[in-house]
Symmetry: C2
DNA sequence: GGAGTTCTTCGACGTACGTCGAAGGTGTGG
DNA sequence: CCACACCTTCGACGTACGTCGAAGAACTCC
């Protein structure tokens, strides 16, 4: 029997998370994975700062070249973090000429929050 | 010049997180670290399931030996995850005889949620 | 088309994480 | 004190992650 290396499953996270809140009883493993993957996308100091910067300019959007110096990191690193956030559905980027403007996806962040919140609902 | 290995700073997370919400503008790196560390504690499918199980029995508490079979993991692994949650202040355990009963710290979870929520406040 | 800017991808490096079996507490009851 | 149950710690294993420099893509303007 072939021994497959145990790697993380790939899951589509483009839509806001949608499942019963944590506090409403035992959560099934699939939902737990969905929640955990989105949390993991946010569970990094750089990405938390990124989200706060993007939320502050939610209307205009911010480009990589402005974010990199604000965080003291290379553009390659910032691009990597933005990708994590984008794949988790927490952020979206739109091209305008040579620039890509990133904006937070507020519904997605709100949905994640509602699942976690022990008071909400 | 000595090259110090770059390791993660150790931070006390026993009290519920307390800082301005993400959406209120650029967050400073220290606060971002505090938030990220707490999120990281929750950013694992097993720990999300653990929290949901504990929230379902918040009054009574649940012991490691009941959690391990419910998750299909060894007690060593569950103990490890509970430790992560405890160090993040999201859970607390009290000994009763040979058992340790774990309970969620609802205020801590709520505080984390309020920092993340783009709608809250 | 060519030079220049912005952004992403690739490869490599060190560190951190999840899991287990085995060993080490901690407490209960004969 | 000894046997037993529960829980945690330790050591080891493979995988995942954050960071960078360098190379590649996408686009603009001359």
């Amino acid at each position: 029997m072939a021994v497959v290396p145990k790697t993380l499953p790939v899951v589509d996270l483009s839509a806001p998370v949608c499942c019963a809140p944590l506090a409403s009883g035992a959560m099934d493993p699939g939902d737990a994975l969905e929640v955990a993957l989105r949390l993991k996308a946010l569970a990094d100091p750089v990405r938390v700062q990124l989200m706060s910067l993007l939320l502050a300019e939610a209307a205009a959007g911010v480009c990589t070249c402005d974010l990199a110096p604000a965080l003291g990191l290379t553009e390659a690193t910032v691009s990597h973090h933005l990708r994590q956030l984008r794949e988790a559905g927490l952020v979206e980027g739109t091209r305008k000429g040579t620039n890509v403007f990133y904006r937070p996806r507020i519904e997605a962040l709100g949905a994640l929050c509602r699942v976690i919140d022990p008071a909400c609902c």
